[in-house]
Symmetry: none
Subunit: 216 residues, 4 copies
């Protein structure tokens, strides 16, 4: 383990700043979060993208959201014994152990993972098609949705539509997990699809009546 290095000094300094201010001002709450355990109301599945700040957008307090972040906020279908365990494990834990009331899939504009999927589908990204490409194999989850946007000529609009399809695919895949479907059926869990436009701070939600995303 001689390869492990000390934390960069600017992060050390910032941590001490947080400890002396935010933590100090909320320490009673943090201690209670330990003695009583976490009881998050919602799980959020969002992208790893550094420009997506779930806690900032929703003014979240410590202890409020159980957050899973992966490339392109994708949920694979339920495949016991199969691939993609990390995301499925996070969903299973949130729904069966923590019993969250809301499960939010948050997509976003300018998603590099979704763009990689488009490039792959257009035959422009041979490296992603290789068996050994983890990103490529992960984006296979979204690939079947490409046909719904294949005819859109404007590249920006095409990407946005596939980003939204990624949210819908994840919502549908969530329903293939028996513990999700039964909680939804019993009214103990509700699913929500969102898409945020980073550059303008926009937020759209999927409206199942209108069958499209509308501004919130």
């Amino acid at each position: 383990m001689e390869f492990a290095r000390p934390l960069p000094s600017y992060l050390v300094q910032r941590y001490h700043g947080w400890k002396a201010t935010t933590f100090e001002a909320n320490k009673v709450w943090y201690r209670r979060l330990v003695t009583e355990g976490q009881h998050p109301r919602a799980m959020v599945i969002s992208c790893c993208d550094s420009r997506v700040h779930v806690t900032s957008i929703f003014g979240a307090d410590q202890g409020e959201f159980f957050i899973h972040r992966n490339i392109a906020n994708l949920v694979p279908p339920c495949e016991p014994g199969g691939n993609h365990h990390g995301t499925s494990a996070a969903v299973e834990y949130a729904v069966t152990v923590l019993k969250v009331a809301h499960l939010i899939v948050l997509g976003h504009s300018q998603c590099g993972g979704v763009q990689g999927c488009i490039d792959m589908c257009k035959g422009k990204a041979p490296q992603l098609e290789e068996r050994g490409s983890f990103v490529g194999r992960w984006m296979d989850i979204l690939k079947p949705r490409y046909e719904t946007v294949a005819d859109i000529e404007d590249a920006g609009r095409q990407a946005q539509q596939l980003e939204k399809q990624a949210v819908l695919a994840s919502l549908e895949n969530l329903m293939t997990f028996p513990f999700v479907a039964s909680e939804v059926a019993e009214g103990g869990l509700s699913l929500h699809g969102l898409w945020t436009d980073i550059g303008v701070g926009g937020l759209e939600g999927y409206d199942s009546a209108q069958k499209k995303f509308v501004p919130i």
Copy 2:
């Protein structure tokens, strides 16, 4: 998709608050993040736990950290074509596409995933041993490390030690990815292991010289 529901109103309200304040005050930077793309300096792998706020602890700005969150901040070993794609894809994207300079694995106290692993190893969690348990199969990544803490009698201390072992296991597994190992060897990437004690706001870093975690 009739199961998709509107966003709870308290979150709608908070979003509009964020839009009118934080976003409004930083909109120049958010637009730049779109036109110039993300250039995060570091990737952080942390737990989904609602009590772990990576961006808060490190005073992070939008665009600064590429964040992957899964149960117990685990990284599986490199297995092309095998399981666990989500985490491997996130690491691959961060290191080969975004070329982050720092890769930080952040463990934490009171980790439910790690406790589940202990219970499983003690034969107290048969449901996690089932083939269909996504959490159980995910925690298999950590299972071999249980023997290093099996003799610790105090349950709290045992859990903390295994939480730290989870960080070390992830660091070692990271080095099994060829693209990580080569970047580390060439000095283009450094790995860091951290563990935060939620209740007291503590932060410890793995010191490769002392071969243990020490307060930062």
Copy 3:
């Protein structure tokens, strides 16, 4: 060049300390800063005063701020072909080449340059009024603002008000540069006025709605 002398030994010693510690712990990041170039998010214009530590106050990492420091953090108006090139060149480079998103003018208490301007305006500093006084000619940028504070009897309060006027004058002068004004208009750049009270570690920001500086 026989007048150039070796670096004082106490600085040599400190440099080696930095090299063995801070640099060693962050060398991956420093190398990246070279291979990928600098991409600072913000430019800061502050005073040369030894008591103003921009990077310390803002927990800055290497590569985060493009920093210009001159006497009294002044920006002269745009005068192509005229005087004051050093500051104008720094602003031009930051905005047109580096494309920073934020331009922060940071004033401070106990500013010797501002005090010199007051003395000059009160006829108490004839040496600054001489044509050959570089400090005097530089403070001419601020001189027209003296009338806004001329009636303040308390010397300390008068100095603080003129220090804040120096920040406002610089902000207004920044807007006379076409490349600044157009970026601000297009939303690609935002200007911020700050004033720090050294002795008590205070920080105030100019609030354009209230038309005054308020604590941050």
Copy 4:
């Protein structure tokens, strides 16, 4: 002044962290810096480049260095009534008012300003040659030195040599200021030329006996 904007929130948070830690731990010293005024031992002239951390390299305390930063750490020759007042004013204040004992010019590798000068001399940067280019007119200070490196074929080595020439030009120009020359002659002020290699954390000092820069 409606164009002035609030400070980005992440900087507000970091400031409060600094206030609660670094400032709190040193508040006696900061207060003394106010009551006794600043008495810096040295003035440093360095580049605005975000990768050059003067205070970090030299482990500087608040109040220790009077720091002027401009593009390419250049000092123009003494020209009363002429251009370039900002830098001359900073030098005049440091030497005649603060009476610093050391005046350090700190150059650095990968300097964008120096590269711009090379491009201009090679006829590759017509925009810098325009009368209205502040950066171009500022780099005119260095232009006469280009002939000393014109024959170097390797572009990287050529840039490094001109970066070092910028330090020497500034040292020579400093001596054209009567108040600098007389203080140097009387032994009250010493001049030092340094160049730092950012990527490897190197530091070289100009040795007047060997007439070249040597590692420190």
